[in-house]
Symmetry: C2
Subunit: 409 residues, 2 copies
């Protein structure tokens, strides 16, 4: 949780952290600055103190929306320094990092470096700052980093933001269901009024508009039909027409416009009718979903849910990555993952996970079955949170009907 | 240019490069893989050889659209390794980097690390790989990196992609002009049919939909009215109503949907009428634009154009960052910058730039004047490329009228 950051710094023996990076999406910066819409600059935090921002003069007004203390580059003499070093960006940056650290009264010690950005640049800069100022150690991390560890449990404000994204996403799912259902078929192909096929590209365009109308942005949704749906991460081919009786895996994971909290959900739809084989697989996936929910308890290992689902699928004769580690058919991925400012966070619900489920977690539950050679994949996913009482609450309100009927024809 | 990569590696004495990072937008990966839509993994290139991709098994099909050789993580034994190390991500990753480098027959030497991603992770990983395998040196860069240097000159295929984005952006500008013009005023406020104000938020939503309809995505457009337009990077406040006679700085820089090439353009619009003060400033900015174009020659220093524009503005009595380095009014930024897979690339057209203008450059030309205390900013920007004959060609077709008339009322 955000309020744990100082404790998490102490655990890592960090005297300060720097969040760098210029990305459109920079979760650690967003996390510390309440989503201030700056395009670059730094956030620094000394252990035990509030974070401060250092940004381009042109972005001071945006940065101040964070409520944090903001310095412009020129408050720290950037322009003059750059000029005095004849435009040497590297030398300027090294000295500027020292100035920033001095500004927050961190004259030595271990400094964690975070953020999303240009890897080459921060690799060089970290090495150079350490070489020039041996009083600092610049520290990287991977896996359960300071931020990952904080993200694991969400506070009430974060839950409300994710709930809002969830409600808007459910509304987009409904609009998309209605949009497709408003078409008719010619033979096995879904067509528009003019008789041309309704394509996956048409649907994705519709979905993106519906998202935008609700201040959400798409991050590469999956809308994969038939055989493509049998590969869990195939995005779907834009020019492919929608066909009756071909299951569609629709994995929609939008976030707040401009970079922010995500929602993650998947539905499988079969237009007009479902084949008995797909219907049976769908029922098993729905049952697996219930197995996960029924086995949920706060404070148990996350992998226990994955194991329960693997037990279920293996009992039905499907290979899993536990029974057949290299399998690409059957149940081939983990049951879910944390979701927040990143689409994939901790806890992991994989069978090697060492994470524990706990109040404040926001997790996806997403069992699936994949048989591309039989021309189908099926996945069902809700986003859930664990409330203060340890109850698992779904945030994804949209229904789980498999067959999407066409109203015309 | 892309074809220069081997020469640029040789210049840096690099035996190989690794492009890492999981970003939605990862320009170096996009550049080497023709925009294959993978969400993670690596691109590796040995000096003198074609790049190869290493991706999650679920993304092999997408990765193969690059035309490159693709290995899945499990082709290199990732899953077994991870399991044998009891899920230790850090140890697994270090050994996996060694395996990837062995796979492309790079058993020692200098390896450049590039890409957009989690800074903490790649900082740690680079240090650990060097510690574990001292036969490798992992090399960072900043400023004019290998990729930045390659990006400076675009090949014909890149120019065509940017031209297409430019044409679509101009169509969106026209649609937005028409959309606003289709409204009426009550007093000084632009209103909708129901009499409620047309807000900046309404316009931005319209623009994003128009972009999406053309397979473009917005990256934080500026639509800033009155005083806000006087701060070059103020984005504009969503709830603010459009007012007659208040100049609007509309800086639109969309890119290909899903991460790709950008176009960058700015127009200043004053709805209904313009005040004489704004009209005069606008004419000077248009003149400054012509000064830049008239002074353009291939193979001159880029800063010569900035200096010519600064001469012009200073001659008209405006402070510039040359005459008054700390000024926040007058002409306060550089004349332009390269544009490609990144919104800001080289060459820089600032007055400290050491870059030379040359065929293959794609550059913005964007003079402006900023006087927030007088409630206005004015900027005009076209994206241009330098053709093989050294001619400067504008890619931004949309007109440069200042006054946007309302058709109703």
């Amino acid at each position: 949780m955000k309020s744990d950051i100082d404790a998490l710094m102490a655990k890592r023996n960090l005297d300060a952290i720097i969040v760098a990076g210029d990305g459109h999406s920079n979760p650690p910066r967003n996390y510390l600055t309440k989503g201030a819409k700056v395009t670059g600059g730094y956030v620094l935090k000394k252990a035990g103190s509030e974070p401060v921002m250092v940004v381009n003069g042109m972005e001071v007004a945006e940065a101040e929306k964070s409520g944090l203390t903001v310095y412009s580059y020129n408050d720290l003499g950037y322009g003059e320094l750059y000029k005095s070093l004849d435009g040497d960006l590297q030398k300027t940056s090294v000295i500027f990092w020292k100035r920033m650290l001095d500004k927050i009264s961190v004259e030595r010690g271990r400094v964690g470096v975070y953020g999303e950005g240009n890897i080459a640049q921060y690799l060089l800069l970290s090495k150079q700052v350490e070489a020039e100022y041996p009083e600092y150690e610049l520290v990287g991390e991977m896996g359960m980093t300071l931020f990952e560890e904080a993200y694991v449990t969400k506070d009430a404000e974060e839950i409300e933001r994710i709930r809002s994204v969830a409600q808007r996403t459910s509304a987009v799912l409904q609009a998309t269901w209605d949009f497709i259902g408003g078409h008719r078929a010619e033979g096995e192909t879904v067509v528009k009024d003019d008789g041309t096929p309704l394509t996956i590209g048409d649907v994705k365009r519709f979905v993106r508009r519906e998202l935008l109308d609700r201040d959400l942005e798409d991050d590469a949704m999956i809308f994969a039909e038939g055989r493509d749906g049998g590969f869990p991460h195939s995005r779907g081919e834009a020019e492919m027409p929608l066909q009756l009786g071909q299951p569609i895996v629709f994995d929609l994971f939008p976030r707040e416009l401009g970079g922010g909290y995500f929602h993650d959900s998947t539905r499988t739809w079969s237009i007009g009718y479902a084949t008995p084989e797909v219907e049976a697989a769908y029922q098993q996936v729905m049952d697996a979903f219930e197995v996960a929910v029924d086995n949920f308890r706060a404070n148990i290992p996350a992998r226990a849910l994955q194991e329960a689902v693997q037990d279920y699928f293996e009992g039905k004769g499907h290979p899993t990555t536990r029974s057949h580690p290299a399998t690409e058919v059957g149940y081939v991925h983990s049951l879910g993952h944390g979701v927040g400012l990143n689409i994939h966070e901790r806890p992991s619900l994989g069978h090697l996970s060492k994470d524990t489920l706990q109040p404040g977690n926001v997790i996806s539950i997403e069992p699936g079955l994949y048989y591309p050679e039989r021309n189908f994949g099926v996945r069902v996913e809700d986003l859930c949170y664990v409330d203060a009482n340890g109850e698992l609450i779904s945030l994804t309100e949209f229904h789980k009907e498999l067959v999407l009927p066409l109203r015309k024809n």
